[in-house]
């Protein structure tokens, strides 16, 4: 049997002929992870064997050989919600840009090209909102002839944000080496000018299924030297932004069963660990973002963002500290929890007090703001969808919900929501109380990692193939699970 001499560790390993070199290195405990899953794409396993540079994952041991491993790379640490180490290894040298195109807001980060630290950031409300607030409206607009206008609008906006962010740090946009972009499938396709007809009907298949890099000047000419990274979408309604979250949180290498949730209109979630990951989109609807609620609004000044019970009274905190003129998502969840505990809502969500306005029962929160029976129903539907999604993902993995050891809430909403209230009303299964943390804009963090480390970009391709997608509506138990999840647990008498 041939012997492999491994340096600089200076150990010997005798292995059968034909053994993969990667396997040998793993056996001696000496190798970093393989982002591309051993397909020879990312170049991270490059070693020197018998004086020649080879990829360990593509090499087999045929005879005695000496293998020299590269010096351990210095690791950077990102501390935004989740601590994450990565290597500075961008595809092109120069400052880096990471862009997160959300349906509602667009964020742009400028990063230093040598250590990945943030130099500046800028954000704005997505200018495509003139074509509609939600993804469906924008798809519809694109299919009725507005595709090139929507594309031009987002490109012009990114051009402005890039100039803004570069101006803040005194960096020339032409010097930027890599621009990474994450967004949901609709945002990605509109940016690239690809018709979203695939997203408009059954079977809702994604088209951006490959991690690809193109010359940025073809899309955003302001960065004439840069490479633009197109990150793959996982499914028609689970996009590169969710991929960014998975990368940022390291879900793919988690030892314990972990749930990643983006509580928002689409309610994307991924449940799994290093063994297996499944994703689904729960279409929770915009109620938690204030839409379809009588006094619903986004988390802006004047919005009730938290509600507490103080004996017989309800206490509300308002963003900005002034008078309440509406209520935002986190406030809605708190309000439902408080009303439930006070017995004002029964387990079916029926308001028990009889005061009415405009023909329906309502409950006053402040002088100017009240919740209607319809508002409660909207909350029930949104929370029912999300809770059902978690339960069905767990069922698909053949694990009880209580096995989930960590819940990571991505997105701004996740950072403001009170996890106790969320569990009380059953937005998240009550078994998960105490295991919930907010991870901030994980999608944006993912975009930063992708720009900094080509290995992460290669990993996204591997993950695209590894993460399974569960179409909830096709499960026979979907409607029953959804129905049950809409109910509340009544207060203990």
């Amino acid at each position: 049997m041939p012997t492999v001499h491994i340096l600089p560790k200076d150990v010997y390993a005798e292995v059968p002929r034909g053994t993969g070199l990667m396997e040998v290195l793993r056996q001696v405990g000496d190798f970093p992870d393989t982002p591309c899953g051993g397909r020879g794409i990312c170049g991270k396993c490059s070693v020197t064997a018998e004086g020649k540079k080879v990829l360990a994952c593509q090499t087999r041991v045929e005879r005695d050989m000496t293998v020299v491993l590269p010096e351990a790379q210095q690791l950077q640490v990102l501390r935004t919600g989740v601590e994450r180490s990565f290597q500075m290894d961008p595809l092109r040298p120069g400052p880096l840009l990471a862009v997160d195109i959300g349906t509602t807001s667009v964020v742009c980060f400028l990063l230093d090209g040598t250590d990945g630290r943030e130099l500046a950031s800028a954000s704005a409300l997505n200018a495509q909102s003139s074509f509609g607030a939600d993804v469906i409206s924008r798809i519809r607009a694109a299919l009725s002839g507005e595709l090139s206008r929507e594309r031009d609008v987002i490109r012009a906006q990114l051009d402005g944000l890039i100039r803004e962010v570069c101006g803040k740090a005194n960096v020339d946009p032409a010097a930027v080496g890599v621009v990474s972009v994450v967004g949901n499938p609709t945002m990605q396709q509109l940016l690239l000018g690809i018709s979203p007809e695939n997203l408009a009907g059954v079977p809702f298949d994604p088209v951006l299924t490959q991690a690809e890099s193109v010359e940025c000047r073809e899309i955003l000419p302001v960065c004439e030297r840069a490479l633009l990274l197109i990150v793959p979408d996982i499914a028609g309604y689970i996009g590169a932004d969710t991929m960014g979250c998975v990368l940022a949180t390291g879900l793919y290498e988690a030892e314990e069963l972990t749930l990643l949730v983006d509580i928002g209109t689409n309610g994307e979630m991924v449940l799994g660990s290093r063994e297996r990951m499944i994703a689904c989109s729960t279409a929770a609807g915009p109620a938690l973002e204030g839409a379809h609620i009588r006094f619903g609004m986004r988390g802006a000044e004047g919005a009730i963002d938290h509600v507490r019970r103080d004996g017989e009274t309800i206490r509300c905190t308002v963003i900005g500290g002034g008078e309440a003129r509406g209520i935002c998502g986190s406030g809605l969840i708190d309000a439902a929890a408080v009303l439930l505990e006070a017995g004002v809502l029964n387990r079916r969500g029926r308001i028990q007090t009889t005061a009415e306005r405009d023909g329906q029962r309502c409950v006053d929160l402040t002088e100017g703001v009240y919740l209607t029976q319809d508002d409660i129903r909207q909350i029930q539907m949104a929370k029912g969808a999300i809770c059902a999604g978690v339960q069905l993902l767990a069922k698909q993995l053949d694990r009880p919900v209580s096995d989930i050891r960590r819940v990571l809430l991505a997105g701004a909403f996740g950072s403001y929501m009170d996890p106790e209230s969320a569990c009380r009303i059953g937005l998240l299964p009550e078994e998960l109380r105490g295991r919930i943390t907010a991870v901030g804009n994980a999608a944006g963090t993912g975009a930063r990692l992708l720009a900094c480390d080509r290995g992460e970009f290669a990993r996204s391709q591997f993950l695209k193939e590894k993460i399974e997608f569960l179409e909830l509506a096709s499960l026979p138990e979907f409607s029953g699970t959804f129905a049950r999840a809409m109910n509340f647990r009544e207060a203990k008498q």
Binding site: G201, V202, R348, R350, A473, S479, A483, M486
Partner: protein, 210 residues
């Protein structure tokens, strides 16, 4: 012995365990009482409908009701009279092409069955030609179409047109419903009736020529 009053009340209260236990008991020990059991369940469904109209119950409760009712029907099936009641009116039910939503459709199915109508459920994403073909095969004269996505309205219109092209439009009564449907869109697709609630749809089917 079966307490039919209590059964109706339990159904109305969505007490799944009690209702299914009664259905099992009837199927095994009191098969001759099946008709009365069905009547009690239907009364329970009526109570549910009233509570929904009175805002006590919500969509989730209707879905749950539909499931309990369907499961109870399945449990009672062995005890049904051997010959299918040929005077039962048939309703062809489907979610139109391009749409996968079925929650509303399934609620309507349960309500129609609770009124004694025979429902042939074609499922979701059903092509216009298939709906016409199955309607003719089943000798049915009432068709109920569901759609949630407004992009499926065109498929709904095509389905109604397909009946006209087959030369049978005058013999068929078509009711439409779903989140994207209202009186105006029902007119656009040239349906006969817009079923705003499951009860409205049921009332239309009961009154239509079967």
């Amino acid at each position: 012995m079966i307490d039919f009053e209590k059964l109706a009340a339990d159904m109305g209260d969505l007490k799944e365990t009690e209702v299914l236990a009664a259905a099992r008991l009837a199927a095994e020990h009191h098969p001759d009482a099946v008709t009365e059991v069905l009547a009690a369940l239907s009364k329970g469904m009526d109570i549910i409908g009233e509570r929904f109209d009175g805002f006590e119950y919500f969509v989730g409760d209707l879905i749950f009701a539909g499931e309990i009712f369907s499961t109870a029907l399945e449990l009672l099936r062995p005890a049904f009279p051997v010959a299918e009641n040929s005077s039962q009116k048939k309703v062809i039910l489907a979610t139109v092409e391009g749409d996968l939503h079925d929650i509303g459709k399934n609620i309507v199915k349960a309500v129609l069955r609770s009124k004694g109508l025979k429902v042939v459920d074609l499922g979701v994403n059903v092509a216009p030609a298939t709906i016409v073909q199955r309607t003719l095969e089943e000798n049915a004269r009432i068709v109920a179409l569901s759609a949630v996505l407004s992009s499926a309205l065109e498929a709904m219109k095509c389905t109604v047109d397909a009946f006209r092209e087959a030369g049978v439009r005058d013999r068929i009564s078509i009711v439409v419903g779903g989140a994207c449907v209202n009186a105006r869109t029902a007119k656009y697709v040239k349906a006969d009736f817009f079923g705003e609630t499951p009860e409205d749809t049921a009332a239309f089917c009961m009154a239509a020529e079967g």
